[in-house]
């Protein structure tokens, strides 16, 4: 990544313009800044600047008990709290050798997949918003997301900061009436996805603004440690739910959508298809979920043995990993977070250079980062 000098560069024929996008900018979805060097409308260089939302989650975790840290993980990627909870508690369970009952495994998969639907809806909604379709399509996506959040509220009482996953299981079993509510949502959602596909995939403006724009090859994606839907859009079939199945994913029937071009269009398409697969898995979880306990009792002040573990899951934005080091006390000695949004930003410069300023917004949108997770 090149460094942009503070007063613009000098070795161009005409003087390039240094444009500061953000930190407050509607397309950055949070407090995020892009320093873009422009030659006319063409982007010559890009440097992301972030840290405005840095709360020091890793440092805070070192002063809290393992159970209390769950509440910090809700606030990483605030659009996918369930996935963050899951990644963290799985790391603690691996460290402390805690087993999870089978019913809890199914509940976890179900919640993580519903979360994926909600998160991808936001990614697509804001992307279309950035493309100029002001607010209306976004509100359509919000409508479905609200229904997912209603389901979460039924289960654990919270809509954003769930702290639903606990060490050894989940906090609550399903409430009465959840089955019917979930089925109503899934039936409705199947129709809505068909509607979105018709609206998005056959829209001339979207096609001309996204097809062939900012392609990322599979080799480059791997070299830059890109994970998640962005990697699969580049033709690399790698999904931790298939490659290293955790919880009940080995019993789930689902396909991993993969496309070959790695352009903006493919990144959008992969997310659209993943929502359908997630809905399918949710239905399967509900049908096959065994009865039984939802939590193995574990101490609130759990003391894992001295050691360390790196445990990762396929979160909504890519591989979310927790690196926990225990010194035998009630608090983690080190809680490192491998955040997918942060590492996916490695390719931002490559995706934007050579394209127009208007494309920069779209390229940034299809990367689907979440600033809470970038800054931690």
């Amino acid at each position: 990544m090149n460094v942009i000098p503070d007063s613009g560069a000098t070795n161009y024929d005409i003087e390039p313009v240094l444009l500061n996008l953000g930190p407050q900018h509607p397309s950055t979805h949070g407090v995020f800044r892009i320093r873009a060097l422009l030659d006319g409308e063409e982007v010559v260089d890009v440097e992301p600047v972030f840290g405005y939302l840095h709360r020091g989650s890793s440092k805070l975790a070192e002063e809290r008990s393992y159970t209390q840290v769950i509440t910090l993980t809700d606030r990483l990627d605030y659009l996918s709290g369930m996935s963050n909870n899951l990644a963290y508690v799985r790391a603690v369970e691996a460290l402390a050798h805690v087993d999870v009952p089978e019913r809890a495994q199914y509940l976890r998969v179900m919640m993580a997949e519903l979360m994926r639907i909600a998160s991808h809806l936001m990614a697509l909604g804001f992307l279309i918003n950035d493309l100029g379709a002001w607010i209306t399509p976004l509100m359509h996506m919000f409508r479905e997301r609200e229904k997912v959040l209603d389901l979460f509220e039924m289960v654990c009482g919270a809509r954003i900061t769930f702290s639903y996953m606990r060490i050894g299981g989940v906090s609550h079993d399903l409430p009465p009436g959840f089955d019917a509510a979930l089925n109503a949502f899934l039936d409705d959602f199947a129709e809505r996805v068909a509607e979105y596909e018709a609206l998005l995939l056959e829209n001339e403006i979207l096609v001309s603004r996204m097809k062939g724009i900012a392609p990322l090859s599979g080799e480059r994606a791997i070299e830059c440690s890109v994970t998640g839907p962005n990697l699969r859009a580049s033709g690399v079939n790698f999904d931790l739910r298939k490659q290293a199945p955790y919880e009940a994913y080995d019993r789930m029937n689902f396909d991993v959508p993969v496309t070959q071009n790695g352009d903006n269009w493919d990144r959008m398409w992969v997310r659209l298809q993943e929502m359908k697969e997630s809905a399918r898995m949710t239905r399967q979880c509900m049908a096959e979920m065994p009865d039984g306990p939802t939590r193995t009792p574990a101490d609130f002040f759990i003391r894992p043995p001295v050691g360390e573990v790196y445990s990762a899951i396929e979160a909504t934005k890519g591989e979310l990993g927790f690196y926990l080091v225990s010194d035998g006390t009630i608090a983690p000695y080190r809680c490192g977070i491998r955040s997918p949004s942060f590492i996916n930003l490695t390719v931002l410069r490559e995706l934007c250079v050579g394209w127009k300023l208007a494309d920069l917004i779209v390229n940034f949108g299809t990367l689907d980062i979440n600033v809470g997770e970038v800054d931690r």
Partner: protein, 146 residues
């Protein structure tokens, strides 16, 4: 299922190709000497059987007398992984060769470690703070930061 390679096998390959680069072989990771980390990584990436094309994660722990860097490596084609560690002794003026020329994915992760732990990566294309502002006093994830 992603296979975790036996550290003995990997260490033996490293020993054959790059003698004395491996400092210690444990059950779960291989400790590599800090000044040879770049050649080790380049070998692991380019060897056809190992094929570690992706730097999955880069992290560090402060153990007061030393810092331990952890390199999680992954081969998507062969679907296996391995873990390297590098020990950096001392507290002041710490430097480690950068692996960003080997995997570009190390770029932001090394900057984060520099920012929060104060370990400088030599050969990194843009070694400056990333989450905190220039001029922030100290490196907050160090154990002695108050």
């Amino acid at each position: 299922m992603t296979i975790t390679l036996s550290t003995d096998t990997v260490a033996q390959k490293l020993q054959d190709a790059l003698p004395d680069a491996v400092e210690e072989t444990r059950d779960d990771w291989i400790v590599v000497s800090a000044d040879r980390i770049v050649e080790v990584c380049r070998f692991l990436r380019d060897d056809d059987d190992l094929d570690m094309r992706m730097l999955r994660s880069l992290d560090v722990v402060d153990f007061i007398d030393r810092f331990e860097l952890r390199y999680g490596l992954l081969s998507i084609r062969r679907n296996h992984e391995t873990t390297l560690k590098v020990r950096v002794w001392g507290r002041e003026n710490l430097t480690v060769p950068s692996v960003a020329p080997v995997w570009e994915g190390a770029n932001l992760q090394e900057r984060e470690i520099y920012d929060l732990f104060g370990i400088e990566f030599i050969g990194h294309p843009n070694m400056k703070r990333i989450l905190l502002w220039e001029g922030f006093p100290g490196h907050p994830l160090r154990k002695d930061f108050a």
